[in-house]
Amino acid sequence: MALLQIAEPGQSSAPHEHRIAIGIDLGTTHSLVATVLSGKAKVLNDEQGRVLLPSIVHYSKNSTEYGDTAKPFITADPKNTIVSVKRFMGRSKADVKFQHPYTLVGAENEMPAFETAQGRKTPVEISAEILKQLKDRAEQSLSNPVNGAVITVPAYFDEAQRQATRDAAELAGLNILRLLNEPTAAAVAYGLDQESNLTTDRNYVIYDLGGGTFDVSILRFSQGVFEVLATGGHTALGGDDLDRLIVKWAKKQLNIEVLDDAEYAHFIVSARKAKEALSDATSVDIKVLTHHLTLDRTTFEEIIQVALDKTINVCKRVMRDAKLELDDIQNVVLVGGSTRSYAVQKVVREVFKQEPLCTINPDEVVAIGAAITANQLIGNSKDGSLLLDVTPLSLGLETMGGLIERLISRNTAIPVARRQEFTTYQDGQTAMLIHVLQGERDLVEHCRSLGRFVLHGIPPMTAGQARIEVTFQVDADGLLTVSAKETTSGVNAQIDIKPSYGLSETDTERLLLDGYKFAEEDKNLRHLNETKVEAQRELEALTQALKVDSKLLSTEQLTALTQAAEALKTELETNDIKLIEHAVEQLKTYSDAFAAERMNQHIDHALKGTKLDDWSNSN
């Protein structure tokens, strides 16, 4: 979801009670919390002085361990030790296609739960446990209850993933002020939203290489507004991969074929140490178990080139998506622990031809930005910003023939409301199904269903007479409410749409791409469906007309007409547009004659007993 941020010119805030607001970076590998104290943002550590809380929860029968305490259980009790729960947030069981050691329970299209020693735990509950830890840490360290929190999410998170994060915060007892995109938080931390010169646009690249994920975003700061122009990334690329590449090289050097788990763990630790040491030294000695190796910078750079090349490709892609050239980029911000490595910094410097910003600890920069935003949103600071989200995917309704009528197109700034009128399809229809969908394709089956409800109590009318007004309202937090109302009678129905499971990123991407790729196919299908719907409507109208006026036809005429109608019904099963169109044509010859007969009859009938004036006034 792209984000626009509006900065308001600085104003001195009226003196008032300071309210406690925190910013939380709820990360895949680790999470942390920050707050603004005396006008300065700072991260909060636990009693042992640790800032980073590994995003790990271990469930044993009688106790729950978190963070560093839970870490040893990753190998000792993997099934009950949940790591990287962020990757499960807002996903259905069917969406979870990556490898993991857990037993997931639940229906395919629902949010799954992990089977643990303490029973079933959903990703939302587990994330809530992590958030609760950080909330408790903040309250202990600040000796005050927390009044509100900003939690960061990746820019590409869809509505379901955001909703899951929001639900987790609620479960943790946090008053959530706003979900903030991680790259925007990083930019806020560096004060890039405080640029006073509003006459020129400024573009920023946020390069975020964490332990296991890579994200790059391009933000534009224009007329006092932050806008996410493009995002890209890789869900399985990070510092851990650099370590693995070093181990792979070491194995080759030492002619080792296989390492057992314990040996491998030793190698990984040594590889990480070597990687870190190379940021200060040109060459390091690696001693692992009984082996001894030397790794210099040149070799190290060669080893990890394959991984860094991938990040460069992603960077090039988002630059293209944003339609920007290198000269257009004013600043590059480094986020994520892996950007501490000199090799990563070197690559970024070479690719973007400038010195990246890395003065704030890259593990903490996102939480710091979140804390600054939280402080503004809760009202402690008035030089704050306004966050304008946009809809990541189009929202629409199912219409006849499995087609989608789009009410809100993607990338529309929220809040937004759209109203559209629909009508009934059959005579005497008293109910209407309102099926709400998300996606870019024309057909219902290719989009994601968000929810459905039925508008009951429509007064019986001729088809096409009822006026059903459907309203889509997306509020500032991205929550969609759909209401339907029959305007001639005032009957109404309403539903709040809360996606219970999410679109995966690949799903979001697929839906977006499909919308374009299949435009032609959709057009044909759309034409076929429209023709079928039209034909069915004709048949329906004909049946109704025959009920009333079949006496107007001779036996031969009636037979010919019903035969043509039957023929059309048969062809409708074939999905062959040519055959259907031909049958429609055939039927039309007979039905037109019938319609003319009826018309004459009705005019005769209408004229009977009425004065010419009455008749000409009616309509």
């Binding site: 890789h234 892609r317 293209r320 306004l386 700034a413 937004v416």
Partner: protein, 171 residues
Amino acid sequence: MSHFELFDLPEALDIDLAILKANFLKLQQQYHPDKAENKDKALIKSSEINQAYKTLSNVDSRAAYLLSLKKQDHHLDQSISDFEFLQSALEIREQLDEATNTEQLHSLKKEVRQWIDGLVREFKIDFEDEDWAEARDTVRKLRFFQKVMNDIDKAEDQLLDDEDFNLDDDF
């Protein structure tokens, strides 16, 4: 209040998009639910501002909106009846389907841009002459080309992806 009045712009097809954006942001700073006291009222007002901004941002929807202000926007969803136009449209679609490199897409884009520019000029004349049927037809054509333009952008991305981008290869 019309969308043009809302953003302090003249009621015309040619507008300064920089002013539109600046005034849009100014209004949101005032009316967005995060900023306003009365949240319910702000939700409605802020939604209206967003919708109005979206409508005026694109030339095809802006033209359609100008027609709606004159109460001349009916049947805009009807299909285009200009046979010659349809033929050129079909050709451009085919070219898009067959394009295999970025140069072809670039030249196609240039062509579509020229079409859009021409249609914009045409609309202004239709509108001036109050020839509403013609103006409606021009809006339909504008919509068509706006969509083609979006599709070209997507095709371009797809092509570049195939050329130099493969995320899933393993190392």
